[in-house]
């Protein structure tokens, strides 16, 4: 997976994102596993808690799994253009409505962030104090969040009208403008990975321990 990240030129971002995403869970996993897992080899003791070798082994295993999951998700997000992904899904038969909702949800995030920044600046220009202590910041939140939500709802209504006027609700398939290039090597790799996954599941069900 790290090799894939290198080839996609997203390794530093991937590592940073994976560590940040896993960190809260990783800390609790380490604390719970190391100090509460029963074992025969006690490494050290803190108060009433014994840190056992078995606990450390279990924590290490869990961390590796956690890191594998977070890097998989992270690599997908960093290396895949959401629009390309959803259009490809549509090409493979997924409903255009689902495709639209999926892309719109992803694309809505930067728009919301931009809008919140604009509203925040306008409110500051009108004297709203958004800096300082926690209480001041919390008090400044409502005049920003309220307009962000209300303007977003208005936008959704107008956008849905505009989409209706462009035949969005017409049933039936669409001819997409372009399709994702799908090279032979990529197809082979996909089949190999799927085969490998099936083999691993089968081995696990058969009782093989890795």
């Amino acid at each position: 997976m790290l090799a894939l990240a290198v080839s996609a030129r997203v390794l530093p971002q991937l590592l940073r994102a994976s560590v940040l995403l896993s960190l809260p869970i990783a800390i609790s996993v380490v604390l719970v596993s190391v100090f509460t897992r029963a074992g025969t080899t006690v490494l050290f003791t803190i108060g009433p808690f014994d840190a056992t070798l078995e606990g450390v082994e279990f924590a290490a295993q869990t961390l590796v799994r956690l890191f594998a999951i977070s890097t998989s998700i992270g690599l997908f997000v960093l290396a895949t253009d959401p629009r390309a992904f959803v259009l490809d899904l549509e090409r493979r038969g997924v409903s255009p409505r689902f495709a639209f909702v999926a892309v719109a949800s992803i694309e809505a995030v930067p728009t919301l962030v931009e809008r919140a920044a604009t509203i925040s600046e306008s409110q500051r220009a009108r004297g709203l104090d958004t800096e300082g202590g926690l209480r001041t910041r919390l008090r400044g939140l409502l005049p920003i969040v309220g307009p962000v939500i209300l303007t977003s709802l208005t936008d959704v209504e107008e956008r849905s009208l505009a989409l209706e006027s462009r035949a969005f609700s017409r049933p039936g398939r669409r001819h997409l403008l372009w399709s994702m290039p799908d090279r032979t090597a990529e197809r082979v790799l996909r089949f190999v990975l799927i085969g490998l996954l099936i083999a691993l599941i089968a081995a696990r069900v058969a009782g093989v321990d890795f």
């Binding site: 253009d81 629009r83 255009p96 639209f100 892309v103 719109a104 694309e107 809505a108 728009t111 208005t154 936008d155 107008e158 956008r159 849905s160 009208l161 505009a162 989409l163 209706e164 006027s165 462009r166 035949a167 969005f168 609700s169 017409r170 049933p171 039936g172 398939r173 669409r174 001819h175 997409l176 403008l177």
Partner: protein
């Protein structure tokens, strides 16, 4: 031909109609301007003409019928309306789909929704961009366009649908003079192809240059429906809160000073 036969429309949750017994006809190739103060019912009339009200907005036609080429449109699915009547609003930011990565894809969205072939979609997009001279924006990200550029892209998106009738609700509200000129040219070019256009607009100078007829609304009722030159000179427009075109105001000022407005010619 788009016809309003005594149409009254009421929004959902409201006791009284916003439009009252509107009689209006748009013939092919005709450019009709729609003027009136804010809350006169211009935008509502645009929504009803496009089928979005009551189709999508809700509410009800409490009397009358909207007809296209003689066919009553009540109960017609919205996606069928899309090829009959296109509608553009004043804020481009909310009309762009938000899901496309380039202006080209944005304009192609409508034709794609119609199920057209890839070739025809591309052909329509190219033609729409050429009409508005926005080919240079093809690769740009729609979200990063200026208000004026965005509005031109929205209008191009409507042109690519090739509707028989086009309703534009303040299409030049965010455009600079050059953008306004391009939209004006596009409107003329469309009318020349037989498209009927209804344009709600505060810029009466633009309507003066473009329209064959002007309709004024007040309180949801048609109070003036006359050839553009006559309607835009009607003194009642001032009482309705509508600025008359510069040529009319200038002529009036000259007359007020005892001069003959014919000197302007």
């Amino acid at each position: 031909m788009l016809t309003f036969d005594g149409v009254s429309y009421r929004y959902a949750g409201y006791a009284t109609p916003v439009l009252h017994e509107i009689d209006l006809t748009l013939d092919g190739g005709e450019i009709v301007g729609l003027v009136g103060a804010n809350d006169a019912g211009k935008s509502t009339l645009c929504l009803v003409a496009s089928g979005l009200a009551p189709g999508s907005v809700g509410g009800a036609l409490t009397s009358g019928e909207v007809r296209i080429d003689g066919r009553a449109m009540r109960g017609t699915p919205l996606h069928e309306f899309a090829t009959l009547v296109g509608i553009g609003f004043q804020n481009p930011a909310t009309q762009l789909s938000g899901v496309t990565g380039s202006v080209f894809e944005e304009i192609a969205l409508g034709p794609m929704n119609l199920g057209l072939s890839r070739r025809e979609t591309v052909e329509r997009v190219d033609a729409a961009m050429a009409t508005l001279a926005i080919e240079h924006l093809a690769e740009r990200e729609p979200r990063r366009l200026s208000g004026g550029q965005g509005q031109l892209v929205v209008i191009a998106s409507l042109l690519a649908m090739r509707p028989a009738h086009l309703v534009l609700d303040e299409p030049t509200a965010q455009l600079d003079p050059e953008g306004t000129r391009l939209v004006g040219e596009a409107i003329r070019a469309l009318a020349a192809t037989g498209t009927a256009l209804l344009i709600a607009e505060h810029k009466t100078d633009l309507l003066d240059r473009l329209c064959t007829r002007v309709v004024a609304l007040d309180g949801g009722r048609v109070v003036i429906d006359a050839p553009a030159a006559t309607a835009l000179e009607d003194p009642r427009l001032r009482d309705l809160g509508v600025d008359r075109p510069a040529r009319v105001r200038l002529a009036e000022a000259l007359r007020g000073r005892g001069l003959d407005p014919a000197v302007l010619a």
